[in-house]
């Protein structure tokens, strides 16, 4: 299994600022994803982080708002830009293992509150 370290674990941000979340995996993985989870809700996929190229965004999410990098196989960042209170949420980094099961592992999440 993969262990995913994500930071910051939580932050309180001012409207209009940007915050970058970092995600580090301790072993080889195939795909990396970023999800958002509103309180009491399910997970919504923001994008697939592609190594060395632009991320693949889901409908409703754009690169200007959520720029993502993945410079190597085990590290990725998500930036939430020009934040508004509507961006207050938990952001989860995840990675798919190389085993046949293709299991998806999750970081601890970053809880952002925008004032």
């Amino acid at each position: 299994s993969a262990v995913i370290s994500q930071k910051p674990s939580r932050d309180i941000c001012q409207r209009g600022t940007s915050l970058t979340i970092q995600c580090q995996v301790d072993s080889q993985v195939t795909m990396m994803f970023w999800y958002r989870q509103q309180p009491g809700q399910s997970l919504t996929l923001i994008a697939t982080a592609n190594q060395g190229s632009e991320a693949t965004y889901e409908s409703g999410f754009v690169i200007d708002k959520f720029p993502i990098s993945r410079p190597n196989l085990t590290f990725s960042t998500l930036t939430v830009s020009n934040m508004s209170p509507e961006d207050s949420s938990i952001y989860l980094c995840s990675a798919r293992g190389v085993e046949n099961s293709g299991e998806l592992f999750f970081g601890e999440g970053s809880r952002l509150t925008v004032l």
Partner: protein, 109 residues
Amino acid sequence: ELKVEQNPLFLSMQEGKNYTIYCNYSTTSDRLYWYRQDPGKSLESLFVLLSNGAVKQEGRLMASLDTKARLSTLHITAAVHDLSATYFCAVLWRNQFYFGTGTSLTVIP
């Protein structure tokens, strides 16, 4: 787009009772995953089901997969308070994971 529905959304059950959570999905897939999430925590993998008829058991939880019916079940046997959490199923389709709506389980003493 693939839809994944769970029911019930909320479940309150007494300790010692049995219950089943259902996960229905709208397209063909033979890979289904179950996760547990405690309040304020991330998701923890419970079961990986990789083929039709797969059955996995761990403690008081048992998961099964019927790909023809596009249905997975998570059965709880003799519930205990420690099982209180939110449970998600997720379907792998076209290299993406689609999560169910979640089932919030509360086990009452």
